[in-house]
């Protein structure tokens, strides 16, 4: 099964010091490498930091464009992975290895597989 893994975190709770940042970077590297070697990681990406998100809705044929994500949460989307796993337990296991899990939260959405 394919899962979309969404990484949310509160910027203010993210590591700040040089040492912490380095540790996080190392943890990212390990996660990516492990997941790639296992053939689990299909794609991966990070969201540019800062309040850059824009939301658009089309209603009555008219686009409504607003600043920011549609939900007012203090945790912002920071990145995503698409992973392929046997089941939810395996997806959880990988998600628990993502460095931001220690201060943010990670949402695991099964991707719809038609047919």
């Amino acid at each position: 099964m394919k899962y979309l893994v969404l990484m949310y975190a509160n910027d203010s709770e993210a590591p700040q010091t040089e040492g912490e940042l380095q540790a996080i970077q190392q943890a990212w590297f390990t996660y990516m490498q492990e997941a790639q070697t296992a053939g689990v990681l299909l794609s991966n990406g990070g969201v540019a930091p800062g309040a850059n998100a824009t939301t658009v809705r089309v209603r009555n044929g008219k686009p409504l464009i607003t600043d920011g994500p549609f939900a007012e949460t203090h945790e912002q989307l920071g990145g995503y992975s698409v992973i392929e796993c046997a089941d939810l337990d395996e997806a959880l296991r990988w998600a628990e290895k993502i460095p931001t899990v220690k201060y943010g939260s990670i949402q695991i959405c099964p991707l719809w597989a038609p047919g």
Binding site: D87, L88, I108, P110, W112
Partner: protein, 411 residues
């Protein structure tokens, strides 16, 4: 036993086991449940005429598999594409075959997967393993039938769509998942024992179902000390069920219960299972709570209760699972072991965190009553009443409060 009740009892007993095996074979939760439902309707008609077969589980399994094939064929025709059916497997006649593989452990862990909401875990467990119908589960949890049906359907859909595995968790996941499973069983029990609202303080069926589920669990996981501990705990609590309420439906506290009416068979069984748990040498909170419950059960009178031992066990429990409930109970045990004023002092130390927790005020009121501080006791009962939603417990608290107001403190 009439034919109808015999059929119903058989359904209850076989439901979980047949469903668990069926899900394994079909690999589809919803299809298995629907097919079993069809088979039960079939059985109801046939068994009423022919009697209950020698091996009802295998009978249901065969019938359900046939119904599943029917359903798949119909769906295949409707969708105009072929589904490959393993009809070869259907050739054998399991009526001849006595042993249905016991897959209930898989079903338990799937129903209690932490990715499902707790209320869904509870409902699904009762429905699939306990064989309670949707209306029965709805009644037990005081929600409407459509709400419960929706809750169950959503849980089944999530199991399928989110890829929740149907298996016993691997060794590294087993301890945490077992903890969740035991919590669900205990929740079913406590929901029956002390319902959080409404008039029925004890709802026998839920208690009995929780005990039955835990017996199955213990038989499938014979080396789990905590599964034994939970079973012992529930049996010991349940032994006092008949004496927890008086004729007026008011709660009767442990020290005022009629000990002659405690169920001695359940006490003996609970103590024996606790002993077996302790030989497994893997202590845990359920075993400690069962040990506390056993000390109460074995005390011939309330005065003879070994409160020092109980206070020590609460120390152990507080170290394992710190919580407000444990702290309040520990303070009460200390009061009864070492004097009300010592216990009261401990209780008052909790005030900052426990102010909105009614058992804190109820315990404080009882200790104030025991130390003859009647006005303060009445006030504390009042505070407990303002926070408590259970009618039987409210009746007790009101009774005590009035008693305190009736005979004010001697000045």
């Amino acid at each position: 036993m009439t034919a109808a009740t015999q059929i119903e009892t058989t359904f209850r007993e076989e439901h979980g086991r047949v469903l668990a095996a069926l899900i394994s074979q079909l690999g589809d939760f919803t299809l298995a449940e629907d097919a079993l439902q069809d088979a039960l309707v079939n059985a109801l008609e046939r068994w009423a005429v022919d009697g209950v077969p020698r091996n009802p589980g295998a009978w249901l399994m065969t019938a359900a598999k046939r119904r599943a094939i029917d359903r798949l064929r119909r769906a295949a025709t409707q969708e105009r594409h072929t589904v490959i059916l393993d009809s070869g497997e259907m050739e054998d006649e399991p009526e001849m075959n006595d042993s249905l593989p016991d897959e209930r452990l898989k079903l338990m862990f799937t129903c209690c997967h932490p990715a499902l909401a707790l209320e869904a875990q509870v409902a699904l467990t009762l429905h699939t393993l306990g064989g309670l119908s949707t209306p029965e589960v709805a009644r037990a949890f005081l929600v409407s039938e459509p709400t419960m049906a929706q809750r169950l359907a959503r849980a089944r859909k999530k199991i399928r769509d989110a890829g929740i595995p149907y298996r016993v968790p691997p060794a590294d996941l087993l301890p945490e998942r077992l903890e969740g499973l035991l919590a669900v069983i205990y929740l079913i029990f406590t929901e029956g024992y002390v319902s959080t609202s409404g008039d029925s303080l004890t709802r026998h069926e839920l208690c009995e179902e929780a005990i039955r589920l835990c017996r199955v669990l213990v038989s499938l996981l014979p080396h789990s000390a905590e599964a034994h501990g939970l079973l012992a705990l529930m049996l010991l609590h349940d032994s006092r069920r008949a004496t927890r309420l008086n004729a007026a439906g008011e709660l009767v506290l442990l020290d005022e219960q009629d000990r002659a009416r405690w169920d001695q068979a359940k006490i003996r069984e609970g103590v024996a299972i606790l002993d077996r748990a302790l030989t497994l040498n893997d202590p845990g909170p359920y075993q400690v709570q069962a040990a506390i419950s056993a000390l109460h059960a074995e005390a011939p009178t309330a005065e003879a209760t070994d409160w020092r031992q109980i206070a020590a066990l609460y120390d152990t429990l507080a170290a394992m699972t710190p919580s407000m409930v444990v702290e309040v109970n520990r303070a009460v045990a200390v009061a009864l072991a070492y004097g009300a004023s010592v216990g009261l002092q401990r209780l008052l130390n909790l005030e900052d965190q426990a102010d909105s927790y009614y058992p804190f005020h109820a315990a404080r009121a009882d200790l104030l009553r025991r130390t003859n501080q009647r006005e303060a006791a009445a006030e504390a009962y009042e505070q407990a009443l303002a926070l408590c939603g259970n009618n039987a417990e409210r009746a007790y608290l009101q009774h005590r409060r009035d008693e305190m107001l009736q005979y004010p403190a001697t000045r």
